[in-house]
């Protein structure tokens, strides 16, 4: 019996809970019996070692906007017996908290961690990876980069044995939406940003996306986890998309290029940066809408390109569930 605790019950946490309910039977066939023993949010939580009623937890969260007070995440970690935590609290790339403490405390107890939270990995990837190894626990984080676009396990499993020497990718769907709309509509950045906000694609304060912060955080995770590097967020050379004009697209188009925000890490050339780049129109990275994409350069397999949905609660849940299955697939 796999006992699961979910920390963070926002869009992603609820998305995961829904998949666990909806796909219960299919999952059981893959990983065996499981039950959710705790769900927490920033205000409180529900916990029971015999298993909690997930649909009821979802109902409470949706009607009252919060879980019942009294049970904190640290209470659950300290007093409950469980096998795996799904850490999906809010990302904080400055100090990684509260996720960093949750993940450390779980790993320290030998509890496996599946997370979508970029903060702790950006701040302390190496420390967490070492801790996991020492405590014989697993740290899974497919959902931190590219949403449903497979990249972490793709490189670790399917491209195992390859040396990945460079990755170039579109890792932020909001920026890609804005740029591809500017390309098509010849409207200004501000006009398209307003449209993106209305559609819920951009946040009210879009800084995190449009200044390339989100993409840079993902790039740090990629570099450290897939390319055996040890880089920090501050090491990323970063230029956002706010100064791009409709004329820039016209001039670029005349020469057969479009413009996209590209996150690039190159071990050979010593490159670690997020910046708008000229992309040939037929290039596989010249994608439109909120999609994410990555071009992975390897020594044996050559170039591999992946494209997928980079955000959304269902898409992120997909990455989390795939990590969960990867952890427990062999058990019957």
């Amino acid at each position: 019996m796999i006992k699961i605790a979910i920390f963070g019950f926002g869009a992603v946490g609820q998305g995961v809970a829904e998949v666990l309910l909806k796909k219960r039977e299919a999952l059981r066939k893959l990983i065996g019996d499981f039950r959710v023993v705790a769900v927490t949010d920033s205000k409180g939580g529900i916990a029971d070692e015999k298993g909690i009623d997930l649909s009821k937890a979802l109902e409470i969260k949706r009607s009252r906007k919060r879980l019942p007070e009294g049970t904190t995440t640290l209470d659950v970690i300290n007093s409950l017996d469980f096998d795996v935590c799904i850490e999906v609290t809010v990302t904080n790339i400055e100090n990684g908290e509260p996720g960093l403490t949750h993940i450390k405390e779980c790993l320290r107890r030998g509890i496996n961690v599946v997370t979508s939270n970029k903060g702790p990995l950006v701040v302390a990837y190496k420390e967490l990876a070492d801790l996991a190894e020492k405590k014989n626990a697993k740290l899974m984080f497919e959902a931190t980069v590219g949403g449903a676009m497979p990249i972490i396990k793709l490189v670790k499993n399917d491209l195992a044995g390859n040396e990945v020497y460079a990755i170039k990718g579109i890792l932020n769907g909001t920026c890609n939406y804005i740029l591809s709309r500017m390309e098509k509509e010849k409207l200004t950045y501000d006009q398209i940003l307003a449209e993106a906000k209305e559609l819920g694609i951009a946040e009210a304060d879009p800084t995190y996306d449009v200044e390339g912060i989100d993409a840079a955080a993902k790039l740090v995770i990629i570099a450290n986890s897939l390319m055996d590097m040890d880089v920090k967020f501050e090491d990323v050379e970063r230029v956002g998309i706010t100064k791009i004009t409709p004329e820039a697209f016209e001039v670029a188009m005349d020469k057969g290029y479009t413009i996209r925000l590209i996150a690039e890490v190159d071990k050979v050339e010593g490159i670690l940066r997020v910046s708008p780049r000229l992309i040939p129109i037929q290039h596989p990275l010249a994608i439109s809408g909120t999609l994410n994409a990555a071009l992975i350069k390897t020594d044996l397999a050559g170039d591999v390109v992946v494209v997928g949905k980079g955000a959304g609660s269902k898409e992120t849940a997909s990455a989390i569930i795939s990590d969960l299955i990867e952890l427990y697939r062999c058990r019957t």
């Binding site: 170039k168 230029v239 100064k243 791009i244 004009t245 004329e247 820039a248 016209e250 001039v251 670029a252 005349d254 020469k255 290029y257 413009i259 590209i262 910046s275 708008p276 780049r277 000229l278 992309i279 040939p280 290039h283 990275l285």
Partner: protein
């Protein structure tokens, strides 16, 4: 790299082969062969200009091999500016002394601005330029791009680089 060799050949059958044989042997690719019959020398030799693409480390060997075949090598030159790329600039390009921006590349001696298209939407609005830079090698092209990026940082101009250098 691309080089041009001018050899002097006797006006007899089989002479050209002596000049071309070492090129193919050393893996060079002949781009063009031009007989300058109008520039025939007092000793009745014909200057022939051969342009080839070859690994730059093999150039000295090549010249040596041609000479050993009994062919006079009058001159050989590297064809400059083999690496080219285009970048996009966005900002107040004209009012931040465009001449100076270009000159910082041109004054390197290894790279120059060979083409530029500017689009100016309105007065006081940022303009956009597609700038094409050529350099004598890929490494020098990278250096030129770094100089351009530094210059543009000083002038608050956004530089959009190509995904890959061609």
């Amino acid at each position: 790299m691309l080089i041009t060799i001018v050899v002097e050949l006797k006006d007899q059958p089989g002479q050209l082969l002596k000049a071309l044989e070492p090129i193919s042997r050393l893996g060079g690719n002949i781009v063009s062969v031009y007989h300058q019959r109008d520039k025939i020398t007092p000793l009745k030799r014909i200057p022939v200009e051969i342009t080839i693409q070859i690994d730059e480390r093999k150039v000295e060997d090549l010249i040596e091999a041609i000479r050993r075949n009994g062919v006079i090598v009058r001159s050989y030159n590297e064809v400059r500016l083999t690496a080219t790329t285009s970048l996009l600039l966005i900002g107040h390009i004209i009012h931040t002394d465009l001449g100076d921006t270009i000159n910082r590349i041109d004054s390197t001696g290894f790279a120059e601005v060979v083409d530029m298209h500017i689009s100016m939407p309105q007065l006081n609005q940022p303009s956009t330029a597609m700038i094409t830079i050529s350099a004598t090698s890929d490494d020098n092209l990278k250096k030129a791009i770094d100089i351009l990026k530094k210059t543009c940082r000083e002038k608050d101009i956004t530089v959009i680089e190509p995904l890959e250098l061609q």
